[in-house]
Amino acid sequence: MAFQFMPGATAVGITYHDGVLLAAEKRISYGNFVVNKNTKKTFNVTEHVGAACAGMVADMQVLVRQVSALSKIRKLETRRNVEPNSVAKLMSVIMFERRYFPLLTQVVVGGVTTGKPEIYTLDPLGSVLPDRYAAVGTGAEMALGVLDAEFTENMDEEKAKDLALKSIKSSIQRDSASGDGIDLLIISKNGRSESSFPV
């Protein structure tokens, strides 16, 4: 039944001075029926890399579990933390392998290990596009309206957090497939934290 209604969502990613901020709202709707108001669309792939996804929830959960497991193996092999660009490329390869029956999800993956904070956007076929800020999902256009106007380089954490919340609130107001709260995942050089906000 899920396949008949491509679930909408909004997920954004913002790089700031010390790290990256990934946020998503919490609604799953099949057409006009809201199935779940407490969905988690932000994920910890590794300790230093996270992902926020929009689209088919099953596909995003499976993708993240797979990439997370493979990243753990890679960390054991190389004995260093897996970089965000490696995670992005790995996701891209997994998604492109399924080119004929794609994973129906768009991903914003980001993190910071030793270098600069980075985020990447992936489409359902696995293309990788780096950026300083990004939004995916049915609410992306509204979120980008806010982000394009107010994003600046090297913001501090409070400002970046406010911007992320503002952009998703904007999407929630104008996209009926998005709503019911916002999850925030902050990954910085000092560590990682997750929080939830009602709307």
């Binding site: 080119r99 004929y100 359902p124 596009l129």
Partner: protein, 220 residues
């Protein structure tokens, strides 16, 4: 991006599906590749600074138009094969060979094509001159002195047909290429945001800096 945009009829969306303009010019001493930087999904601009000109090897570059995932994978495969060729044959891969290889990969996917339109351009080691090839999604190869692909290509061709001269050097041709893309940006909605340009000559692959591009004075 495979988002169905129901606001406009399909024949309009088809105009911007390959929302891009790229062009390539052959010169007396090399080639010039230029492209815009917009990635669009229907009418939505998904990314404003995509690098559509990819370095395959020091002497070889390709411009991509169409589906980003398909194009990125094709570029990766071409890079891998060019490297292997250079290491095993101890010379850089001839541009025509690279074009033929790309064509074969695309034709192998004839029944479920890679949704791409490619220009392969480079400085051929054996013939010591620049060569460009236009490769479509099924793998057909054609070559001309100048090529343009994407939704804005008719506009770019208009400019190139009048301003291109045989035997220009790369230092004159990059200005023509940038102006062609600028014309396409002005008159094609699927093209926009900014311009990237690359020169490939006997000294290798060189991406043009912002200062040089701005000094051309192209208005968009």
């Amino acid at each position: 991006m495979h988002v169905k945009d129901e606001r406009y009829p399909q024949y309009i969306l088809d105009q911007i599906k390959k929302g891009t303009t790229t062009c390539a010019l052959t010169c007396s001493d090399g080639v010039v590749l230029a492209a815009d930087t917009r990635a669009s999904a229907g009418l939505f601009i998904a990314d404003r600074h995509v690098m559509k000109i990819q370095k395959v090897d020091n002497h070889l570059g390709m411009t991509i138009a169409g589906g980003v995932a398909d194009a990125q994978n094709l570029v990766d495969t071409m890079r891998y094969n060019s490297n292997i060729y250079r290491l095993s044959k101890r010379e850089p891969i001839p541009v025509s060979s690279a074009a033929r290889l790309c064509s074969n990969i695309l034709f192998n996917q004839r029944y479920f094509p890679y949704y791409v339109q490619i220009i392969m351009g480079g400085f051929d080691y054996r013939q010591q001159k620049g060569q460009i090839y236009n490769i479509d999604l099924f793998g057909s190869i054609t070559t001309e002195s100048f090529i343009s692909t994407g939704s804005g290509s008719p506009v770019a061709y208009g400019y190139l047909e009048s301003e291109f001269r045989e035997g220009m050097s790369v230092n004159e041709a990059y200005k023509v290429a940038i102006q062609a893309i600028a014309a396409a940006i002005r008159r094609n909605a699927g093209t926009g945001d900014s311009i990237n340009a690359v020169i490939i000559d006997k000294d290798g692959y060189k991406e043009l800096s912002k200062e040089i591009k701005d000094s051309v004075g192209a208005k968009f």
